[in-house]
């Protein structure tokens, strides 16, 4: 099988916008690695846009949990946006929805994180 997963990072002045594309499975480690690098250089606010990802595996969910915990340790925050209904439901069941804010659009998420 061919794995297709892409991650793009856009660094704003006070937050980083990460956008995924494709199936989020073990390759989602790229997200965690990118977040860790950004935390190390001082970023503490993140927006994660999942618009182009329709499926997320159990491993992908576990990776997101770790990212959230990592950010909590440095008093950082992460907002998610543009979640497919199935992913949103998975977030709720896995307890992620209770730990992070989820927005319908990227504009709403970035506007909210700028105000924090």
């Amino acid at each position: 099988m061919t794995d297709k997963f892409n991650l793009t990072v856009k660094k704003e002045a006070d937050f980083a916008l990460l956008s995924t594309e494709g199936y989020i499975n073990h390759l989602g480690e790229k997200i965690e690695a990118e977040c860790s690098s950004l935390i190390n250089v001082g970023y503490k606010k993140f927006v994660l846009n999942l618009e182009k990802s329709k499926v997320i595996s159990s491993i992908g969910l576990a990776i997101f949990i770790e990212i959230i915990e990592k950010l909590q340790q440095v008093n950082g925050i992460i907002y998610f946006c543009c979640l497919a209904p199935v992913i949103q439901k998975s977030f709720k069941i896995m307890g992620l929805a209770q730990k992070v804010s989820i927005f319908e659009t990227e504009a709403e998420a970035t506007e909210a994180i700028r105000k924090v």
């Binding site: 499926v55 439901k89 998975s90 896995m94």
Partner: protein, 581 residues
């Protein structure tokens, strides 16, 4: 060491232990804590190098977790059971290359070691401090381990909840079809299959998942849904394909965890190394296969599909089977509804064409019957028309075929006859024109058998044309029978130049009985596949010739019904009884 120095050292160690307590209780990041703790040890005992090695009980080896003073190499040291027992004694012990290991353990469980260099420089107080430090760090490690286990349990429980919730979701969507909440069009079933495939993929941590359905000829599977490789959708795979054939023919799941890339048993064009497939079954057998490929671990390495994976995917396949079964039932219900609507429309047309009342004609006792039977509307038709100079027209016809098409042909005949009668032409000319009229509109291969008689109450005579219809029988009061067989070809099939019609005029006498009927009467069949026939019909009428037309009608009807018994009834019963007074 002087007493003063000892007190100073003791105070320093107490302060360090306090620092250790703070590090342990202030951070959730175990790796960060390790570094801080090692830093404390490093400064307390003046060691040139300190490292923390954690014990992996599964692999039975020590692995570097943090180090200070040396290049942080990831090393693994195998630990025998004998060495583990020694380490559980908690006493410092010399180790590799003149280093000392301070064992870390709690509740008889080896957790790791603190590895220090420069063994010869440590004094008794250092060992005392290291012993206390080891106890602290052991408790911290144990707590971290417990926390990690709790998190793993929580994650595992949440994933199980996700599996259950997903199954409930899919089940709810499938059942909403059965409850009639939504209709299941091909678009909806496709969406449902996509959802089943994508959710199976996600919960199994597979690299790919697809759902394939068997085609009508049962010789190929067609991939109807695939994630994440959408390009596979629409591709055909021969049903004989090794592993797929096994699943299809046995109706059992199949896991292939150990196969080479070249294995011909794998379901090409899907390229994978590990395969799990389960049948999608319904009451009619295997409809398709739901399969997943290449389950991966967190580090990207492939792992075997487990029995619980098989149970999970089986659950999804069962839901897919129910959905497909429901879709089929729904489609059949829709088709049945369309057919029923057509039958009703045809019946409505037919009923509207039959005369509402039977005309009362001086010197004649007339009754008629049409009973629609079977699952579809037949093409039987009778009618009475007003002609010139007190004459009455009566007709009986049978349109080939059934349903709406037959009803529409009947309507055309009805309109044509009523129109032609107005033109006051001869019977043969009228039938000729009717044939020409109907031929232009009749569906290919369809035709109408038609009998028309003009009844003259003044002369007590009948003039008729029989266009291919069952011969009406005239039973004379003297017991003789005459079949009204003069006419020509049936209507609606032949070109005008190919047909010609003749008519015959017959004198009628009191007591004569004229019976017009369709083949539904004479072709009525019993369970021995015998037909009622003309002779039985003649016999029934002759036996009851002394009765009224209404009573004769009842006797004919009862005779046919009794003859048929429990045999299935397909055709309509239509006949007209005319008794001359």
């Amino acid at each position: 060491m002087t007493l003063e120095n000892k007190i100073s050292k003791l105070e320093q160690n107490i302060s360090l232990l306090n620092d250790i307590g703070e590090v342990i209780s202030s951070s959730d990041d175990i790796n960060r804590s390790f570094k801080s703790l090692l830093q404390i040890v490093f400064s307390a005992v003046n060691s040139s190098a300190v490292s923390l090695l954690l014990f992996d009980p599964q692999k039975r080896e020590l692995k570097t977790a943090a180090a200070i003073g040396i290049k942080e190499k990831k090393i693994s040291i195998p630990i025998s059971k004998e060495l583990e027992s020694k380490l559980l004694n908690k006493a410092p012990m010399p180790a590799l290359k003149a280093k000392i290991w301070m064992p870390l353990s709690f509740k008889e469980e080896l957790l790791g070691v603190i590895s220090l260099s420069d063994y010869n420089d440590y004094n008794e107080q250092d060992f005392h401090f290291l012993s206390l430090f080891s106890q602290y760090i052991s408790i911290a490690l144990y707590n971290f381990k417990l926390q990690r286990t709790l998190k793993q349990v929580e994650l595992h429980l949440n994933l199980k909840s996700l599996e259950l919730e997903t199954m409930v979701d899919i089940s709810r969507e499938v059942n909403s079809v059965a409850d009639g909440v939504i209709g299941l069009s091909s678009g909806e079933i496709s969406k449902l299959m996509d959802e089943i495939t994508s959710r199976t993929l996600a919960l199994l941590d597979a690299s790919g998942c697809c759902l394939m359905l068997i085609n009508d000829k049962s010789d190929h599977f067609q991939i109807s849904s695939s994630f994440p490789d959408l390009d596979l959708v629409g591709q055909n795979i021969p049903v004989e394909n090794g592993v797929l054939w096994e699943i299809f023919s046995k109706g059992e799941p199949k896991t292939v965890n150990r196969c080479s890339k070249k294995s011909s048993s794998l379901p090409m064009p899907i390229k994978c190394q590990k395969f799990l497939g389960v049948p999608i079954s319904s009451q009619e057998g295997v409809l398709g296969i739901l399969c997943a490929f290449d389950k991966v671990n967190r580090d990207g390495s492939m792992i075997d599909f487990s029995e619980s994976d098989q149970s999970l995917i089986y659950g999804f396949a069962n839901q897919a089977g129910i959905a497909l079964e429901n879709a089929k039932l729904y489609k059949e219900a829709i088709e049945k509804r369309v057919i029923q609507a057509e039958i009703k429309a045809a019946a409505d047309i037919q009923n509207s064409l039959f005369p509402k009342v039977i005309p009362q004609i001086q010197g004649f006792d007339i009754v008629a019957m049409n009973q629609q039977r079977g699952n579809n509307v037949g093409g039987d038709y009778y009618d009475f028309l007003d002609e010139d100079e007190g004459q009455r027209g009566l007709l009986i016809a049978d349109v080939s075929g059934k349903g709406l098409q037959a009803a529409l042909s009947m309507a055309r005949l009805c309109a044509g006859v009523h129109s032609e009668v107005e033109h006051r032409m001869s019977l043969t000319e009228m039938v000729y024109r009717l044939n020409n009229l109907l031929r232009k509109k009749m569906p290919f291969g369809k035709y109408i058998t038609f009998f028309y008689a003009s009844l003259d109450p003044k002369t007590k005579s009948v003039n008729y044309v029989n266009a291919g219809h069952e011969f009406p029988m005239l039973l004379r009061s003297d017991g003789s029978r005459k079949d009204l067989d003069v006419g020509g070809f049936f209507l609606g099939m032949f070109e005008p130049e190919m047909v010609s019609y003749e008519s015959e005029e017959i004198k009628l006498y009191p007591g004569d009985i004229l019976l017009l009927y369709t083949d539904g009467v004479t072709d009525a069949t019993n369970r021995y596949e015998e037909t009622f026939g003309k002779d039985r019909l003649e016999s029934v009428i002759k036996t009851h010739a002394h009765l009224s037309a209404e009573e004769i009608k009842e006797e004919v009807y009862n005779a046919v019904i009794d003859f048929e018994g429990s045999a299935p009834r397909f055709d309509d019963l239509t006949f007209v009884v005319i008794k001359v007074r």
